[in-house]
Symmetry: C2
Subunit: 131 residues, 2 copies
DNA sequence: GGATATTATCATGAATATATGATTAATAGC
DNA sequence: GCTATTAATCATATATTCATGATAATATCC
């Protein structure tokens, strides 16, 4: 469902939300058991997106830039995976739309919208006990 | 949602169901506007899976091996994409399960199950006007 | 200002998905 | 058997994702 990268991102953000204070890439990578430098790039991207803030040097690391309860999962995940956006027609018909639907359109829409709703409505705070 | 390959497979199968008689790779590829040899491999795989039958030589080509109304979409798509299978924990926790759920478990399950239900319950016949 | 901790960046590689072009094998019709 | 048709296979190429290792830049602390 999610790419590895997006899953790393989500897990890292949840870890940071749970933790409340900054953590270094090393620490997060160790905790999540994911490749360090790859995670580094992923977190850098989240910082560019304004989801995290980063600080170098001693006492630095990454932390959430946003209140976890205001941070939708979609925002964490969409830099890496296209979850929402316009749903491509399942049958690849370019002209397929709500008004000119392919035979799969409505049912497929109903099913796949559940997934995008999940990421659009749920927040990081929803998924963290402490927060 | 679906990989290109799985989408090709689905579209080809729907084309064949709509058509009712055998069609050659050339014909299908032209109709769907997808790469010929790549589609060829994809269809070959579907033949191995018992979804299609193939015949060489004049008058040959691919055709459905199954009544479209008895052919679940899942069967067309699962050789290429893992749709159903066990849903990986969204947070990557190996011990996550219904009885020992991560915080995202139930909601994520409800959402993503809609998608697998779609492929598990709908048939090719459902998506073809004529059939 | 030197040592250390940490992110940011660069260069590279491996694996997989997607795609193309050429060739081989089987079948049908004559 | 010859020819045309068509799937099956092979060799190769390109793009993307995932990953590793090394280095540079920046901040803190003494």
């Amino acid at each position: 469902m999610l790419s590895h990268t997006a899953e790393y991102a989500l897990r890292a953000v949840l870890f940071l939300a749970d933790r409340g204070e900054p953590a270094s890439v090393d620490e997060i990578a160790k905790q999540l058991q994911v490749p360090r430098n790859y995670l580094s790039k992923t977190l850098y991207r989240l910082a560019q997106e304004g989801v995290l803030t980063s600080a170098r040097g001693k006492g630095g690391g990454f932390r959430l830039a946003v209140d976890p309860h205001r941070l939708k999962l979609l925002r964490v995940v969409e830099p890496f995976d296209q979850i929402s956006g316009e749903r491509r027609c399942l049958l690849g018909r370019p002209q397929c739309s709500d008004r000119n639907p392919c035979p799969a359109h409505h049912q497929w829409r109903a099913a796949s919208e559940r997934v995008s709703e999940f990421f659009r409505d749920r927040t990081v705070g929803d998924l963290v006990k402490g927060a």
